[in-house]
Amino acid sequence: MTAFLDIAGLTKRHGGRAALDAVGLSVAAGEFVALVGPSGSGKTTLLKSINRLVEPDEGSVRLGGLDVRDVPLAAHRHGIGYVIQSIGLFPHMTVAENIGIVPMLMGQEAADRTAELLELVALPAEMAARFPCELSGGQAQRVGVARALAARPKLMLMDEPFGALDPVTRDTLGRAYRDLHERLGLTTLMVTHDIAEALLLADRVVALIDGRIRADAAPAELLSSDDADVRAMVDVPRRQAQRLAAL
């Protein structure tokens, strides 16, 4: 069986430095994959290569068996949910308009799913008429997730989606999203620099260092990685947990 998402030999150079160095990665439908690694390791570049916000220098990305370069750009992006740390809600549009943007761009009939989508991200229906400036950070990112889900994408790309939120909101939203992932049968790639979040939410954790994949394993296996750099990364939350337990 071919993978749902298949990345092969992906290379992207910035000046002389390789942000991605011949990266290969296969993701099956329904998987939840976390991408971890230090700043500048190429996580975001990899994610953006998938929805073509970045064009790689070499290599290919295949989604559902098709090379992404063979699909019209707009249609390709309409089919992918994209959630970013800075959220990027359109400030001159209401919550309902923000949520409805992708179906609108696709020219779909205005079957109003606003209430349904708001409910999905646990927001009250009366939020629909508000403007983004009237929302809290957590509410805004819930709307961001609802906007990404509106056109029923199969693939979700999330770039540190909860990175700017306070710890409690972050935890709640992370778990809420994991539930949605299950319920809607999504395939999710999530970039995060929070190792604990990656280990606790994902089915599989991929560690990128200097543009190369240094580990690709289930969370439990990652804890006993042979790679010293990967071990150093995963040891941080573990030691913190031990110290917390000892308090």
């Binding site: 916000l53 992006r77 990027g88 359109f90 400030p91 761009l105």
Partner: protein
């Protein structure tokens, strides 16, 4: 109502109309050109540098000079291309003002587009908007308030700068201001200023309404503001009935001093009585006026034989007045087809003049006497004299070297000599202020200055009936009457308007 106010108010609607049409069109062109350029510049650094640099450079050229530059530029373009490009009036003013409106629209446009939150743009790309969708759905709506602020700045600047369009023969509220300044008719100046300021405030207010509508997402405000602006433009574009006869208007030119306004009014009265519709192009520069006549942009105006002799024909010699006029008429007709209809009967010569008591104290009667005293004296000249061939001729023959020389507009030049700010001025022999300020004109024994008979000129191919209507003015105006008429307009008390003086001069 005082006649000065009545006259100014009478001229106001037509001037305000053409002022609004000119500045409205200029801002519209500025927006049509500026917005796409701003979008292009915001996207490409290679475009942005040169475009903003060029727009900034244009802005550093004084508006008056920018307007004046387009007259010869269009003239050359017209000759080179063989097309009938009007070099005077609406077109040069429109081009100059449009260029002037460009900078604030461009700068704010670029700032608006570059100032949009990068996260919003990334999200727009991420949800699969095309570039066009991103522009129309995200960038323009979010940038609109800043873009509109630029358009407001452009509108206010343009409405102000459009007052200068009068110098290239485009009627505007500047007509009132410029002619008012020349004749010290403050009612006229204030009427023009107040109207221009009122117009600017009103347009700015309507644009502010649109801007607030965009901010508050109120379609009603946007629609109200835009409707009012469009209605004002439509009103400005509607032809105003001016009364009088039918057919194309005869355009009368005038340079920028009282005598010219009075004579243009007298010509206007004659033509209207003969049933013609007339238009005025006041405040033309000396060379612009003649070129405009030769090109047919104006149809009739009064010039002076010496000016034409030295400036137009580039002659350095001096002939007796009659012989000079005859040769002038033949040469102008042959060269440009311009018709010299005849002399009006008085001379308005350049003459160096001093206050009588000062001249007597220093023992100066002639330019030869002046030569000895000049290094201790200051010269006040009009705005043109120091660059004219006559001044070179005077210097060549008398070797005058003054301690200080300055240029004034004519009104202030007379003030300067009266107040002692200048010892010697370049007076005009028909000026009523020579007598009223008790000035003496200095003799010119070496004949450095040619004679300056006022002559009536008509454009090539002027209709014989028009010439017949103007014929009675030939030889009809003595220097005493011209001085008196000039004084009526120029004096400080009991001032009359040029039109009133023209009625007195040629009843």
């Amino acid at each position: 109502m005082r006649p000065a106010l009545a006259e100014a108010l009478d001229a106001l609607p037509a001037l305000a109309q053409s002022h609004l049409l000119l500045s409205g069109s200029a801002v519209a062109i500025g927006v049509i050109l500026g917005l796409p350029l701003a979008i292009w510049s915001a996207r490409s650094r290679r475009v942005r540098g040169p475009v903003l640099g060029l727009a900034g450079l244009i802005q550093t050229v004084p508006a008056l000079a920018l307007l004046a530059l387009f007259y010869p530029a269009l003239l050359i373009l017209g000759r080179a291309s063989g097309l009938a490009i009007p070099a005077l009036g609406f077109l040069p003013a429109l081009i100059a003002l449009s260029l002037y409106a460009l900078l604030p629209i461009l700068r704010n446009g670029v700032a608006a587009l570059q100032g949009i939150d990068a996260a919003v743009l990334e999200a727009a790309d991420g949800v699969g908007m095309t570039r066009r969708q991103r522009l129309t759905m995200i960038e323009l709506p979010l940038g609109a308030p800043v873009i509109l602020a630029g358009i407001r700045t452009a509108a206010v600047w343009t409405i102000g700068a459009a007052t200068l369009a009068t110098t290239v023969g485009q009627p505007s509220l500047g007509d009132l201001i410029f002619s008012g300044l020349q004749t010290e008719n403050w009612v006229r100046v204030l009427t023009g200023c107040a109207a221009a300021a009122g117009l600017a405030i009103a347009v700015d207010g309507l644009l502010a309404l649109v801007e607030s509508g965009l901010k508050r997402r109120s379609r009603r405000r946007i629609r109200l503001g835009l409707t009012a602006l469009l209605a004002a433009l439509a009103l400005a574009a509607m032809p105003l009935s001016r009364g009088g006869g039918d057919g194309e208007a005869i355009v009368i030119g005038a340079k920028n001093f009282s005598e010219q306004y009075i004579l243009a009014s007298a010509i206007e009265r004659r033509l209207r009585r003969a049933g013609y519709r007339t238009e005025r192009r006041d405040n033309l520069g000396s060379t612009v006026a003649y070129q405009a006549l030769a090109a047919g942009d104006i149809h009739v105006y009064v010039d002076y034989s010496g000016t034409l002799w030295t400036n137009v024909l580039q002659r350095g010699d001096t002939l007796a007045p009659g012989a000079m006029r005859a040769e002038l008429a033949a040469d102008l007709r042959e060269r440009d087809g311009v018709l010299l209809l005849g002399a009006l009967g008085f001379e308005n010569a350049y003459a160096l003049a001093m206050r009588r008591e000062r001249a007597e104290a220093l023992g100066i009667r002639t330019l030869d006497d002046l030569r000895r005293a000049a290094p201790r004296l200051s010269l006040g000249a009009d705005l043109e004299f120091l660059t004219r061939p006559e001044w070179r001729s005077v210097q060549a023959r008398y070797r005058l070297r003054f301690a200080d020389q300055r240029s004034y507009s004519p009104t202030f030049m007379y003030r300067a000599v009266a107040g002692g700010g200048a010892d010697v001025i370049t007076a005009f022999s028909s000026d009523g202020r020579i007598a009223s300020l008790d000035l003496v004109t200095l003799a010119d024994p070496r004949r450095a200055l040619p004679s300056y008979d006022a002559v009536l000129l008509a454009a090539p191919g002027t209709d014989a009936r028009i010439i017949a209507a103007l014929r009675p003015l030939i030889g009809a105006i003595s220097v005493e009457r011209m001085r008196q008429a000039n004084l009526m307009v120029d004096r400080d008390t009991d001032k009359r308007t040029p039109a009133e003086a023209a009625r007195w001069l040629d009843p």
